[in-house]
């Protein structure tokens, strides 16, 4: 594809919107800012779709997808042999990501037109959204590990601004700071990882880096020969990069910022904490996947177990949350755990089987639609109820019919019920896990049951549970600008699964075989159905349930006949066993051990700092004393001990 320089416009248009709105959005363009921001992203989305169409059409005609570098600028020669280029690359995953990012961003822009209407800092909000979209698009298009790091940090900065948007709320400011510092802490791993990999590979370019570190080359020899604590530097570099990814993607134990980040405006959560920023970690590992495949299998095993554990852990915690956005946050963490462990399934699967890679990217793709939809629905609900707590909701299905329908579609999709999109991608992940590691497969299977359970717990608590509220006095469900994105995303949540993904997105660009799922799907779907039924059984009936709702449930009503006994059993299982023995301890570990450790770290630092403040007494003769002591200590150390 020649003449592809226009691709640079995809990230640059939102940047332009940011600059214009940042300068004029507070006063002169306040009213127009929503239109300007949305317009820029609309064009970006159009260009992304056009690029995707052309790219995959070229794939079909060539028989395989190639890596294209439409833009490349040599930026500086760092030292001989290590130059830094700024480039834009197109390959299946980056094309897929620009579509996802620009599309979800567009939906969020449109939705916010209604949701944020009347905010005094409306223009600033759209400026920040533009900055975020620019950074995220830049991140996925980066052809260079240094460049991706720059955008990676920019994404962190803009998400800091967006989470802390309601800066008059102390909790929002604290959450923004926590998110920034925790992810920055993880980025430290990423940074050191970059330093190690690029120093030994003598390049920062992804393509060259992958070539040098996966085939016989002097660079590979140097990085595998060098070791630290008995582990080769290649493994160290990759694990450190993974740590950076795990921070951004909120994997255990670096996930603690994600639930708090829900303090930001809800559409922001849909954009950042559902579809785009949090999957950056998955994207990063996918970008370097050939190196991960080539390196010591232990590295991918780390990815596998961290991913699987996060998936399970978050799903369990999600079962005991009462704040609607926190349930969604933990559910995001759990789904990202799925994507991560799908990437980790490679090592045991044999050289040729890279189903996990495709499955992971596929799940990333479908997840973007239904999770953004869930968050936007939550936005509508919160807009109406003025509360995040599930106890303040209930019986909203008549009041918010469209939201109800969309929410249900999204829940079915995330639960993996055919033919909704989540079904296809999740089945592929489970299939990959099945071939690779039976234990992780079992974890994934169980988690998918839990997913159905907690999502439908949410669904029933919000839309059923109570007497349907009076429809009489309401003034419309939501403005049109909020409804349209819901409908479009719902269509995506239904149909995204039919995209022939495995044919297009493979780690080496060669068309995949597109493995059938067939009978394999029976167990996960049954488990999901069981989870749904369980959720319905508890949460539809916990309040004084009117007969009408009971009748609507039909088959379940028969079960309700044995209400007391089964209630006891299930309540024992859920309340006593799942909640008390698993959910609560998991939440407790989360709150006390993981958070506690971070707090301890801060506390100890503060205490040491207070202690050593005493040295800084302000007396100049003391200073001379320390000075002299310093000289003496250095002299002793380096003349007598080290030589």
């Amino acid at each position: 594809m020649p003449n592809d320089a226009y691709i640079a416009l995809i990230p640059l248009l939102p940047l332009a919107a940011f600059v214009v709105l940042g300068l004029f959005g507070r006063k002169s363009l306040l009213r127009l800012s929503g239109i300007i921001g949305t317009g820029a992203v609309l064009i970006s989305t159009g260009l992304s779709l056009w690029t995707a169409y052309r790219y995959f059409a070229a794939c079909l005609s060539d028989g395989a997808c190639r890596l294209i570098t439409p833009l490349k600028v040599t930026w500086l020669t760092f030292s001989p042999g290590l130059s830094i280029d700024l480039s834009v690359i197109l390959d299946p995953i980056s094309v897929m990501m620009i579509v996802v990012v620009s599309f979800v961003s567009l939906m969020v822009h449109v939705f916010s037109l209604g949701y944020m209407k009347g905010e005094t800092r409306f223009g600033t909000y759209y400026a920040f959204l533009g900055l975020f979209t620019f950074s995220m698009l830049g991140l996925v298009l980066s052809g260079n590990i240094f460049e991706i790091y720059i955008f990676w940090e920019l994404v962190g900065c803009s998400s800091f601004l967006l989470i802390g948007y309601y800066f008059d709320r102390p909790s929002a400011v604290a959450a923004a700071k926590k998110a920034f510092i925790v992810t920055r802490f993880a980025d430290l791993g990423f940074l050191v990882g970059i330093l190690i990999l690029s120093f030994h590979a003598e390049t920062l370019d992804f393509h060259t880096l992958i070539q040098r570190l996966t085939g016989p080359s002097p660079q590979l020899a140097s990085i595998t020969r060098a070791s630290f604590l008995g582990i080769s530097l290649l493994s160290w570099g990759l694990v450190l990069v993974f740590i950076g990814g795990a921070g951004k993607s909120a994997l255990f134990p670096l996930h603690i910022w994600l639930p708090d980040a829900m303090e930001g405006p809800t559409p922001v959560s849909a954009l950042i904490h559902a579809a785009t920023m949090v999957v950056a970690g998955v994207y990063l590992v996918a970008r370097l996947y050939p190196v991960y495949m080539f390196a010591d299998p232990a590295v991918l095993r780390v990815v596998l177990y961290v991913g699987a554990f996060s998936a399970l852990f978050a799903a369990i915690v999600a079962c005991v949350q009462t704040d609607i956005k926190r349930v969604l946050a933990y559910s995001t963490m759990s789904q990202i755990g799925y994507m991560m462990f799908a990437l980790g399934t490679f090592q045991a699967a044999g050289e040729e089987n890279t189903l996990g890679y495709t499955a992971s990217m596929f799940h990333l793709f479908t997840h973007a639609f239904f999770k953004a939809l869930l968050f936007l629905c939550a936005g509508v609900i919160i807009h109406r109820v003025h509360s995040n707590e599930m106890k303040d909701m209930g019986g909203l299905r008549k009041l918010l019919p469209l939201t109800h329908g969309c929410f249900l579609i999204a829940c079915l999709a995330i639960a993996g019920i055919p033919p909704f999109s989540g079904f296809f991608s999740k089945e592929e992940i489970l299939l990959a896990a099945f071939h690779a590691n039976k234990f992780v497969f079992a974890v994934g299977l169980f988690t998918s049951g839990l997913t159905a359970f907690y999502m439908f717990r949410l669904y029933f608590s919000v839309f059923w549970r109570r007497q349907s509220q009076d429809v009489g006095s309401h003034h419309g469900e939501a403005p049109l600008t909020m409804k349209i994105p819901l409908v479009i995303l719902a269509a995506g949540a239904i149909f995204a699964g039919f995209v022939p993904f495995s044919r297009w997105v493979t780690y080496d660009g060669a068309p995949g075989k597109g493995q059938g799922i067939g009978g394999f799907a029976i167990a996960p779907v049954m488990l999901a159905l069981l989870g749904m039924l369980l959720a319905g059984f508890f949460y539809q009936k916990e309040s004084a349930r009117p007969a009408k709702a009971a009748a609507a449930l039909g088959g379940l009503y028969k079960f309700a006949y044995h209400k007391f006994y089964i209630d006891e059993v299930y309540s024992f299982i859920t309340k006593k066993i799942i909640f008390n023995f698993i959910g609560r301890p998991a939440a407790w570990i989360d709150r006390n051990i993981v958070d506690g450790f971070m707090n301890l770290l801060a506390g100890v630092t503060a205490r040491i700092s207070a202690r050593i403040k005493g040295f800084q007494s302000g007396r100049v003769q003391d200073y001379a004393l320390y000075f002299f002591a310093g000289v003496a200590a250095l002299a002793v150390l380096f003349i007598y001990i080290y030589t």
């Binding site: 400011v173 510092i181 050191v192 200073y623 001379a624 000289v631």
Partner: protein
Amino acid sequence: MWAGFIFSLRQELIVTGIIFLLLFIKVGATEYKTAVILNLVNGLLLANFILGFIGCQDSILFSGMFHTNKLLVLEKNILNLGTLIISLQAYDWLKGHRQVLEFYLLLLATLVGFFFMISAGNLLMFYLGLELSTIPLAALSSFDLEKRQSSEAAMKFIMSSAFSSALLLFGISLLYGATGTLDFDTIGQRLDGSAFQLFAFILLLSGFAFKISVVPFHLWTADVYEGSPVTVSAYLSVISKGAVFFVFIQVLYTVFKPLAANWYRILVLLSILTMVTGNLFALRQDKLKRLLAFSSIAQSGFILAGITGSSRTGDASVIYFILVYIFSNLGAFGVVSLISAQTGKEGIDDYKGLYATNPLLSWVMAISLFSLAGIPPTAGFFGKFFLLMAGVGKGNYVFIGIAALNMVISLYYYLRVIKAIFMESQPEPIGKLTIPFLPNLAFLICVAGIIMTGLMGWVYDYIYSLSIGL
């Protein structure tokens, strides 16, 4: 011959010329306009900066006492630019000051001192340059004539300096005893790493370490920064430090090359100590000047990490970082200086709600602090990245890990200030301030520098092409 001589010495001669000019005005003119003096000095500094771009040849003057080459001219030009920015920023403060001429006399004397120190080819020349800059600096620290704290700062500075100079001089004499020469080129050939020579080296090193506020020789820093006028603190934190770093790296890479294995270990230790201590102290500070003092200590630790790289990359990354550091630190100090001059407020809590009243100053501060914290896409990030990259060359990953961890810790206190400015409020925030033209121009230069130095790759490429390796 004279033309070549003058040409090689042109930067020193111009600054000395300004000094004499001011001296004549002081002696001759009965009355003068402060504004004219300020514009005159700024104009001449600008001229010197522009002339600095004219190419030059490597030359050695005064029988090896004075060296010059493209790299040294570039380093002097960086310092000259920094001085110009500081002078622009101080416009407001100086206009109301009675002793403008004396201020510039002292300030430019230190600059000439640094120039000669950078070009020194001999330990005596180096020592002369260093002292020529140290003593006027102490006088400058007490330039807030009404404030007791300012005189206290000057006192502390001169006492500590005297102590460090004494040890430095002791080191020089021991080195002379050990090698029989003061000439940089010959010293290098006669070093063998004996305990005696190592001891002399450590004394010399502690003299350097004092100037660049390396722990445990840093104790004067916070007190002096806090007590001195903000302009002088800014000068101390970037120009003085930058100049000594320039010399330090040259001396290490050329003269003490035979002891590289020894000083590598010392520098790693000092670098870790400096970063950790600077950052830990900065965490709890409530006054911005003290916070910036400790942050500048921590930054010194980072620069040391780059120096340990012992390669051409190490040299280039240090010079590049100092350039970036001048822009970032002067951006931050400029804001503090302006606010302090107009309102007298210097606490972090005073800055709450600044964004509501002074958005421009708030953005300058935020961009500068982000650059100091090393967050992309500001130049500070590139600078830190290059320093770490240079450090990685030695394969000491624990050390690089600690350095990277310190970047995260430092983020914490920089964010505190940004949080106060943008996200907090107070009943009586700092009112709307007027920013005169020249300080405004200085802010523009700083912000443009912070953004452009990072994005324009050729800046680094150029520095690299001039750098020296071990």
